[in-house]
């Protein structure tokens, strides 16, 4: 028979099954990744002013755009315990490459994307690395607010929402609706029950929590500081957050995010090839 180029290769079904079982067991082996996180250095709460490139306080309801260059770190601080912010992340030099929430959770075998994990682009590359995360809850499953989710949560009225914030910000960057994608939402505790029911975990939002995201390529980001669509309470009262772009120093050979899992290591092979 002539070749079509669509052949799936030589492994037998049994070999494919065995290989997947091995990957899954390794990817979800309890305690292994957690031990690496526990052994990793912790970022200081304070950052030397010499190391800061840019700093901004983003009022509740508002958005902010910035470029975080490869190697720089974006710290987001939640001083007043606002219930979630949302991030859009594009590759600065080709906006068609962007954060992919589905790949990020699927490839890393977990929806709990926290310290030691990487944010993957749709091109199989590590875009940003979570080098610190004191809160531990960031949502990749339920997303960001819209006029409709605001109305459902808070009743009628013009309240700022993330979808509109992103549209405005995108327009100013020469981007549009097609460039918006599923957000990465720090400070948001969305958990699933045994039946797939989603709920908001209130104690996941902690005053003073911060997350460090190290850019692995030049990233164009937009942060929207509106409450997560699943946040409970019924009162729209987003509090300000702080964003700091800073130099966290050189990346060590045993860097947690680069070496935490086999999957992350392969994502970095793709990223490093891109810059080689």
């Amino acid at each position: 028979m002539a070749k079509t180029g669509f052949e799936t290769g030589t492994p037998s079904m049994d070999e494919l099954k065995a290989r997947y079982a091995e990957l899954k067991a390794s990817g979800q082996k309890e305690g292994v990744f957690e031990a690496k996180v526990a052994a990793a250095p912790r970022a200081s709460e304070t950052i030397s002013s010499n190391a800061i490139f840019e700093r901004e306080e983003i009022p509740g309801g508002w958005y902010w755009t910035a470029v975080v260059k490869r190697g720089q770190t974006l710290r987001l601080v939640n001083p007043h315990g606002t219930p979630g912010v949302a991030l859009q992340i594009w590759h600065l030099h080709d906006h068609s490459e962007r954060f992919n929430s589905a790949d990020t959770i699927k490839v890393q075998w977990t929806a709990r994307i926290s310290k030691g994990r990487v944010l993957l682009s749709d091109m199989g590359r590590a875009m940003m690395a979570i080098t610190e995360d004191t809160g531990g809850y960031n949502d990749c499953v339920a997303g960001h607010s819209t006029a409709i989710t605001n109305e459902k949560a808070y009743g009628p009225g013009p309240l700022r929402n993330s979808r509109d914030n992103f549209l405005i910000a995108a327009a100013k960057l020469g981007l549009g609706k097609r460039d918006l994608h599923q957000s990465f939402s720090p400070f948001a505790g969305v958990v699933t029950d045994e039946n797939g029911g989603l709920s908001w975990q209130d104690d996941a939002v902690q005053r003073g929590a911060f997350i460090d995201l190290r850019a692995e390529m030049d990233c164009q980001i937009c942060l929207s500081n509106c409450p997560h669509p699943m946040a409970t309470g019924g009162v729209y009262d987003p509090k300000s957050v702080e964003a700091i772009i800073w130099d966290n120093g050189p990346v060590s050979a045993d860097d947690l995010c680069r070496t935490g899992t086999d999957e992350a290591a392969r994502a970095y092979i793709n990223t490093d090839r891109f810059f080689a």
Binding site: F6, I105, A111, D122, Q182, V191, T192, L198, A267
Partner: protein, 209 residues
Amino acid sequence: MTTLSTLKTEQAVEHHHVPANAPFSVTVKKGQTLRIVDTEGQQAVDTLFYNADDVEERYSAHDTVTAQGAAYITTGSPVISSEGNLMLTVTADTVGYHDTSAGACSVESNTVRFGHHTRFMHACRENFVLEGGKYGLSKKDIVPNINFFMNVPIEPNGDLAIVDGLSEPGNYVELKAEMDVICLISNCPQVNNPCNGFNPTPIEVFIWD
């Protein structure tokens, strides 16, 4: 929740056979019902929807799961667009469970998930880009999709994995269109995980007025 349909295939206005591994698309008019049949069982059908009058309005997995407060798609699930509008409603489902959090496979993500030896194997995003091109869609229009017949439980501790499919031969899902939509399908070619029982198979698509 599993529910049966009362529609009869001999009364369908359209019937399409989609070979294993192949892309497919069809326009479903407001009020029409779309049925996707997993002919041989355990076959993931990666599916995206676009507003036929404005393709910048497209399926949003995040808005869909937020609207229903649940992670999986089944009977009664609203299929919500990026604008927050209702695109379709799931009206029948003989499996009871479909993923919308794990997205579509790509040759790039395959290298990260399974190793670089899988780089040159056909994948869903290749299908989406090719088929979407017929409507002027490009990579920017490809977003996380619904995976009909794909089983990806998200555990309370966050653990998430593609596990053996629950669908048996002939199982189907039906959706009623609430606006004119383009339905873009990749009949998933993945053989590195159980989403297709390690053996991609054909599907059938029916449409009723």
